[in-house]
Homo-oligomer: 385 residues x 2
Amino acid sequence: MLKDFLIAPGPTPVPNEVLLEMAKPIYHHRTPKFSELFYETIQLLKYLYQTSHDVFILASSGTGAMEASITNTLSPGDKVIVIRGGKFGERWGEIAEAYGVSPIYLDIEWGHSASPSQVEELLKENKDVKAVFTQHSETSTGAMYDIKGIAEVVGKTSALMVVDGITGLGVSECLTDKWGIDILVCGSQKSLMLPPGLGFLSFSEKAWKMYHSSNLPKFYFDLKKEKKAQGDKTTSWTPAVSLIIGLNTALKMIKDEGLENVISRHTYIAEAVRAGVKSLNLELYAKNPANSVTSIKVPEGVEGGKIPKIMRDKYGVAIAGGQGHVKGKIFRIGHLGYIDKSDLAVVFQALEFTMRDLGYSFEWGSSYKAVQEKLYMEYKNYPTR
Amino acid sequence: MLKDFLIAPGPTPVPNEVLLEMAKPIYHHRTPKFSELFYETIQLLKYLYQTSHDVFILASSGTGAMEASITNTLSPGDKVIVIRGGKFGERWGEIAEAYGVSPIYLDIEWGHSASPSQVEELLKENKDVKAVFTQHSETSTGAMYDIKGIAEVVGKTSALMVVDGITGLGVSECLTDKWGIDILVCGSQKSLMLPPGLGFLSFSEKAWKMYHSSNLPKFYFDLKKEKKAQGDKTTSWTPAVSLIIGLNTALKMIKDEGLENVISRHTYIAEAVRAGVKSLNLELYAKNPANSVTSIKVPEGVEGGKIPKIMRDKYGVAIAGGQGHVKGKIFRIGHLGYIDKSDLAVVFQALEFTMRDLGYSFEWGSSYKAVQEKLYMEYKNYPTR
């Protein structure tokens, strides 16, 4: 008997409360019962997004919501800036190019972050840029970007600020309205503690203005249709009912914990992970590491591809390897969503076993010691249930 | 205490076996475990489709799969024939127009069916037609189309035969390869006994040829990316893991029952529904009624909009009203997917109560009598469990 754990940057574990809610008999989506749940869910999403803008729920993965950000605002030939510092920055560019939009790439070394001044400079050189596309947290490298700073420089221009917050929202502070984010994309299988299958995005007034001048073709992801349907407390196409029921439950859990507490939990969990990693003399890959995922350089002499395999197949803990050109060179521990101190005990136990299997030297329990030291101050004053 | 029943044309009831399978802890999709399940599921789908063509699973509603049929095969200005005899025929046209494709509409009176000869004539008049779009069963009217006959005339030309089988597949005979269907679209929340959130489509060699000359923009629904990923037993974007796990279970249930038996069950259930309806002196709306949904004219003097409302809110049975210009003029009983004789006892009980509430005259139990008479011959020789 071996227990399985999912400590990866997505999908993330789904709480039993959510699984069981989704396991209830399905009901029809064109009913007052579903309309009320749907309306309430939209309001809860607005709380998570910290926005009064429109927020949409799509039956798609996060990539579908990324595509919707482009097709609902731009036209062929439009110039946009794409911050490209990992696999998901590349994806913004691939979608833009597939639709005939012309990206100017701000290429960032993987593991590094773009600075607001770099974006400002590019915007000055290209006054006709229609939108800036970036990640909040680049899942492939574990790097966090300064979205507040970038949004500030973009906000001084007529360009839209479009953020892939798939591993940022509900993990780190992200104030959609206050910071001036026009479109914030998210997906269900990350901090939202749900199975994959839903994409989300917020859409500002500035984005709606762009909608009206955009002539890229769209139908399934046409947000005007979606907005009209949402006015009637429904969706334009058949919604993914069970996932939206789960979303309602998950968002209530987030609201009950309080968004500030959720972000604080992600912050100290991430700090403890980094402390544990360093205690094993392993090196972090990201210069400005995100609170969602910790990417770790594979040490000299260790076969990198084996780390996630042994973790999963021998010790029951699913983490992630590297993607693209850092495959085999880094591995990634995800710690977003339904994650608490217990998961760190589990993941470092398996990591110590795995690294020892691979001939890497360290003192047994050193990662525990570091995690305990870091976390105890957070849990010391916890109220007793 | 009032038990709730879903006897609507979709979503349809999800068997407990499927709900519970989907309620198991989620696992990562980039693992051998998921790859094997995914590969097996694709094979099971090919059995349901009766095809050796490619079959794709999309994280979207059925409308997303309809859109994929268009964006993966056509170019702006391409001429296509759209059979338009209800809300879903209209949808084919709306998607085509949104992408700059030029539909020639074969307009059919709602409730009627297109004949192969009408299609043949249009094809003769328009030799440059690239594709013919139709429904197998027009869910909004309950009319069944002669797909075998239409596919035969289309197959004599270079045009693609594209069928929305969302309420046809797994309900009535539909031989993708033998009949020459190039693209067959389906969704999860119908005969497949799943919650909504997955779209499916098959894609023939002829369709792939069209793919290579098509220049409509696409990314999220790009089937070439999907085919490449499927070669590695995975999907191009994060798949809707829990729904695919449920799909695997549901398809095994269909295979265990046997596709012929599944279709036979849908056939005699539909016949019994029609017999029950007629016994109440109610009139069928569709001339050639489908086995998926029975549409019924609201009798004179009865307020049509109230029928589904009372059925659901007072008697716990969700059916559907009319859509578009037949709203309030027809109502629809869905009988596809996880439906057996017991559901007919339930729906006719509630229907008799409801019609009596609305002042409609009939003899108590007459619909039961008709249903019993019709069904008994089917169940008489059932093996005892």
